[in-house]
Symmetry: C2
Subunit: 453 residues, 2 copies
């Protein structure tokens, strides 16, 4: 790379459109029972692959004193292996560049989104499916030649995945690497711009990018009021998290999918009795550019668009976000640090079942919007799963005194937890990515917000 690949956004979009057009793909929704090489296991009804690899959909029995519902059963994805989400970066003339791929995933809105350099399940990279090798994989598998700037095991969506996690790894290289088809080098500034565009930078990219603020403080440090002294000592926050893990209980037991009540099969999909949450469906895919050229697979398709967001405010001139110690069905260790709000707003419109989340109305109120963008969740497991990501400055009149499960953190403090892995949930991490590069308070007028729509 002797010069930047793209001088501006327009050049990137031209390249991206080309990648999109080159993809010979077809994604068709099919009944789960028609998904080739997948079957409902005799006895349990669990949906499994003939190889016993990849993932399965099983039932989960949950008991907890940290949700409105004390116990429930639900379908959940079980993938008991650690995949790699790897990003190659390079510093040229003091600019950080990321090697990203225009990658098709069957569940993606817009079909092609920007993925990190490598996005591989263990099945992928140990070649269970017998397909092509994963490009650039050798940069992420020991012994590595580059400099490891970030490396942590991170959880994924706890409502949909049972204790799933991936290795998020950022490697800085010095030398040249051959540029393969569908890959491009993007400056961090350009990535920051693209994170404002709906459904473009995929979830795998966003979670890896949340490692950047700590990894590379120089070129992309948090500026102005986003850096500075915190209201709480770091020890206070460690103790807040420890307290939450001690206070609450989360009992999880995998059960046969056939033993999950209130869910039933209808037109080849497993759906909730009241049409809530998500359905288990399947797709049939043909795509010339993937490691294998055709496959079927089950997926989870959420019913509605979710909403995740941080409330934030300045405290003594430094911006803090309000974190929530959150328990989800598949959370590995009782609670993780999550955003102030994470919910499906449609659930509360319907009224009867659920208590309205504490800070939902404040998030949707008249604060200054710093981030407002719709992103997709992992298109390899979730079908058209969108969340609206919001960061709203609610102003210095907002009460600093918050319920026990909540705590004010600076972005730098949040990043320290990200660095250790398994402590910050995927939504909070994605919000951090969206905040990288924020430099000034947003204007009062919401229509002029940073969030692109």
């Amino acid at each position: 790379m002797t010069r930047a690949m793209f001088d501006d956004l327009a050049e990137f979009y031209a390249w991206f459109a080309e990648q999109h057009d080159r993809e010979a793909y077809r994604t068709e929704q099919i009944p789960v029972e028609d998904a080739a090489a997948w079957r409902a296991e005799t006895g349990t009804g669990n949906i499994v692959h003939d190889s016993g690899k990849f993932f399965s959909i099983q039932g989960l029995h949950v008991e907890t004193d940290h949700r409105d519902t004390p116990a429930w059963r639900q379908p959940i994805i079980v993938q008991d292996e650690i995949g790699i989400l790897g990003l190659l970066v390079k510093v040229v003339d003091r600019t950080v560049y990321c090697l990203m791929q225009a990658k098709m995933e069957p569940g993606n809105i817009n079909v092609v989104q920007l993925s990190p350099t490598v996005q591989a399940t263990r099945s992928n990279y140990t070649r269970v499916h017998g397909g092509a090798t994963v490009p650039y994989l050798d940069h992420f598998v020991a012994p590595r030649s580059g400099r490891t700037v970030f490396d942590a095991l991170q959880s994924e969506q706890g409502s949909w995945f049972y204790q799933k996690r991936n290795r998020n790894i950022i490697i800085e290289i010095d030398g040249e690497v051959p540029l393969r088809d569908s890959f491009c080098w993007l400056s961090v500034d350009l990535v920051i711009e693209l994170l404002k565009v709906p459904n473009l930078v995929n979830m795998d990219s966003r979670t890896v990018l949340s490692g950047l603020p700590y990894a590379l403080p120089g070129p992309i440090s948090l500026r102005s009021r986003f850096a500075g002294p915190a209201v709480h000592r770091f020890q206070h926050i460690l103790s807040w998290l420890c307290e939450a893990k001690t206070r609450y209980r989360l009992y999880q037991e995998l059960i046969p999918l056939a033993e999950v009540p209130h869910w039933h099969w209808s037109d080849g999909r497993l759906v909730h009795g009241e049409g809530r949450f998500f359905s288990v469906m399947a797709v049939d895919v043909t795509a010339a550019s993937r490691e294998v050229t055709a496959w079927s697979q089950p997926m989870l398709a959420p019913i509605d668009r979710g909403l995740v967001g941080f409330l934030g405010r300045s405290i003594d001139g430094v911006f803090h976000v309000l974190a929530h110690a959150r328990t989800e069905a598949g959370t590995r260790d009782i609670v993780e640090i999550g955003p102030s709000v994470a919910c499906n707003p449609a659930n509360y419109a319907r009224g009867s079942h659920s208590r309205r989340p504490v800070f939902l109305d404040v998030l949707l109120g008249d604060g200054d919007v710093l981030v407002d963008v719709v992103h997709s969740e992992e298109g390899g497991r979730f079908y058209h799963a969108e969340n609206r990501y919001l960061v709203v400055d609610v102003g210095e009149d907002f009460d600093l005194d918050v319920p026990d499960d909540y705590c004010w953190l600076t972005i730098e403090q949040l990043s320290r937890f990200v660095r250790f892995g398994n402590l910050v949930n995927v939504y909070a991490r994605c919000l951090i990515s969206c905040m990288v590069g924020l430099s000034e308070p947003a204007p009062r007028d919401r229509s002029k917000s940073f969030g692109a729509r």
Copy 2:
């Protein structure tokens, strides 16, 4: 506290002897089937308490590619609740004092040992047993009045406990607290001296004390060559640990105790067919000073004294220890950071079954001994369980290049992992406690070592 309780070690020993004599205790080994309120559960054979609380002894099926044996079954203690190990500290005239208790535990060698201020299972402090309240407990339960200087969930012995952990918490108070019977204020300097004495400072104290170097760097900072720049960046070590967690697999499944092969009942004890590892036995206890005055309980009694130790050496003038990414039967998350060596030397004397641990001979070789002391493990669960704790400086000729599972860390780096919880195993933490206050390289002559025997 207007002045130190003890001017010197002699005064402490006089007080301690008094406490010992005041204990009206009796501990008698009994057949497990005679332990009142405990029974072998019908069907599973698991040893359970009639209340369903406290703990149980079950079977564990383990599969892993990170031990010499790829799969095995064993008895294991299951205690699915987080207890509190709490230490009150106070700074007077720039000296740190710890509030400790001369406490009887049925498995203790010497019966009475020094415990932290509070050592309470959740059953204790929610008063399942209907006994007296736990002294000083309110200082550790939210809302707390003191300053939290350390607070982390920490694992315990992975070979004997299934994913067990306790909350290790250090609270600094300013005001006075009433001094209850059997409690004393000890200066950190005195605690450091007592850590050199065999079977005196109990395991619960040692694990909490491992939080001190980070919590209170001022008064007890690591001096001279124990502080300073590290050979590896902290990111390198994070990545080393992540790599080990990704490389290895640990599958654990609780099974009925009755389904553990190679173990059989003999004279009221559950023993291994070749007399190895440990036995499950029971004790009957009377002790006036405990929350309840008489009880029976099952315990694990190890066959032999274990050996745990760090090899260390100076690297560019700064002392580093050699950490091992270690997997044990009950480890929560595949590996934890452990000492260079942790084994039962008797296993290797017998020869046939086990490969001799990589660094065992070096540890027992002619390096400079910095720590050499025998301590007891938790006397509430383990009967006369002793380990020899060693830290040996193997000198600058020792190869820096070590196998993948090993890594050189400074004590300060190790302490950063301790602070986050669940990353450093109990043996490594206890060794850190024993190293607090080390100030000078040990003399060459082993007989003049720091270790008291």
